[in-house]
């Protein structure tokens, strides 16, 4: 049976009159990787800083294996944080950087740091200074340094955003495999849904200081809890506060096999091509929404188009899934 590693209860954080974290509660099982995804400025970083102990919550408590650690200082917590920037110590070599935290936390074993160095593929560079290695290598070293302190939980604050796209792609899978292999519990913060899906076992959609929904990618896509989740996931047309429809069910000509109960007028803004198929970008007047639909037939290309929506496919948000 899985053990609960980290538990947050009713956590609130205010800056002056602004509420950044609003009554947040969640649990993290041992070895679980949770992706937290949300638009920038939604307070994700603040959440990580509070968890790491760099900032105090205004209210609420943090438990690790059932023990309260809310008042524990950052340097005493078994939680490590990998920042957006690698922040390697410029006056230490790669090896010294990795060993640093381990020695301070009195968990230093040479075999272990050597193994970490090999695991991140930096054995050849162990005596190099941070200024002498690439951005990707720096970020890997930062990860190894965080791992070397043997934290119960590692927090990642958009660790790949300062890297170029191709490197980012590689590093994502590498870090994911690494964390799974080491059975590390981790929280991974990003604003990129794709990255969140690659990195996390579960995904938490975080906006306005709250989790809108926590679940697997499939659940979030198929039964979003509310319109915030649905619009963040994409692929849906939001019809009202309660209703939405998957874009796959929308047609540009009257469906032959079923009744189209709702009809909307839309303007064609632009046509682009994706995987060799034309995509129509439409503006729906009455909903004031923009959608992108794959075109079935080229003859659907008119300036004004009609959208057909079958009632049977319209879904309601699963508020209880929150």
């Amino acid at each position: 049976m899985n053990q609960t590693t980290l538990e947050i209860k009713n956590m609130t954080k205010n800056y002056k009159s602004e509420t950044v974290l609003n009554e947040l509660s969640f649990q993290l099982q041992q070895g679980e990787i949770l992706s937290i995804v949300g638009p920038s400025g939604s307070g994700k970083t603040t959440l990580l800083r509070v968890l790491a102990g760099l900032e105090e919550p205004t209210n609420g408590s943090i438990f690790m294996y059932g023990e309260e650690i809310t008042k524990q200082k950052a340097n005493k917590r078994d939680i490590s944080l990998v920042f957006q920037q690698p922040l390697l110590f410029p006056h230490m070599t790669v090896m010294e950087n990795i060993v640093y935290g381990a020695k301070i936390s009195k968990k230093y074993k040479k075999e272990k740091t050597d193994a970490l160095l090999t695991a991140i593929g930096m054995g050849k560079y162990q005596d190099h200074f941070p200024s002498e290695i690439s951005g990707g290598q720096q970020q890997r070293t930062a990860l190894a340094r965080a791992m070397a302190t043997e934290p119960e939980v590692i927090l990642f604050d958009e660790p790949f955003s300062s890297l170029d796209p191709s490197l980012r792609q590689d590093l994502r899978y590498w870090v994911r495999n690494f964390l799974v292999k080491q059975k590390t519990t981790a929280i991974f913060v990003t604003h990129d849904m794709e990255e969140a899906m690659i990195m996390g076992d579960k995904i938490a959609v975080f906006t306005e200081g709250q989790f809108q929904q926590i679940g697997k990618a499939k659940t979030l896509q198929e039964s979003p809890a509310n319109l915030l989740v649905a619009s963040f996931m994409g692929g849906n047309l939001i019809l009202s506060e309660e209703e939405y429809i998957s874009l796959q069910e929308i047609t540009l000509s009257p469906p032959t096999d079923r009744k189209a109960d709702r009809i909307y007028e839309a303007t064609l803004l632009h046509v682009t091509y994706q995987h060799a198929r034309p995509i129509a970008h439409l503006h729906i007047h009455s909903l004031d929404e923009k959608v992108s639909l794959p075109l079935q037939h080229e003859d659907e290309l008119q300036e004004n188009v009609t959208i057909y929506i079958p009632d049977s496919e319209v879904r309601r948000f699963h508020e209880e899934g929150r």
Partner: protein, 266 residues
Amino acid sequence: MRSRKISFSIIACVFFVFPMILLLLQSVSSPWRFQSEDGFTWQWTSYQKLLQDPMLWEATLTSIVIGYAVLVINFIIGLFTGKALVSSPYKGKAWVEAILLSPILLPVLAIAMGLHLLMIRIGLADTLIGVILLHLVPTVPYSIKIFYNGYNQTGPAMMEQSNILGAGFWTQIFTVELPLLRPAIRSLTFLTIVISLSQYAITAIIGGGRILTLPLVFFPYMENANTSLMAAFSIWFAVIPVTMYIVIELLILLLPYSRLPWRNHR
């Protein structure tokens, strides 16, 4: 670029290197009288005379003690203040900074005159401690500025990173901050010692002539010493801070993660 390098070399040599060499040459030569064809005549007596003066040794020792004491206090105040300023989010930081730096703009002579009575009352007039305290006035604002700049360059994130990895207050200072602040420590050492060695008026006022530092010996020397002896004394004024600086440089080598100079990557 090449012609620029040449013109720089000429300017640097004429205006900055040449005067020091001139002082050096004059200190090991009899006073020059070119018109009576007394050019460079080697002699060593100016240094002998200088170093035989017991007042000089007393003053040198006093100056070194004062210099190091001023340096240590500056170091502590500068370090703590720089750290506090860089990691504080609160507004009004600009005001705190301005107030801390403002003593630079007040005449140190006015402050010394004002503190004179207080020093007499609390028994610190004519004492080493009184002089050390006064020497803080023209130095501490610079130290705060230097350390604040140093911490700003390192950035608060680097300090948080070390905190996350488990370092406490002092571990953090010794393993990360001080090694990264080395350039700041060097400037501070140098500036503090030279400024302290430059104080004649305030040392005379608070020390009451009882505390004999190098400037207090230098000024009367002007009256009756010959040029060679004065030149030797001037050189002595550069030897003291350089020696004191080398000692500090050796201490900096003791900081964690110091590389031996030949394995220095940055």
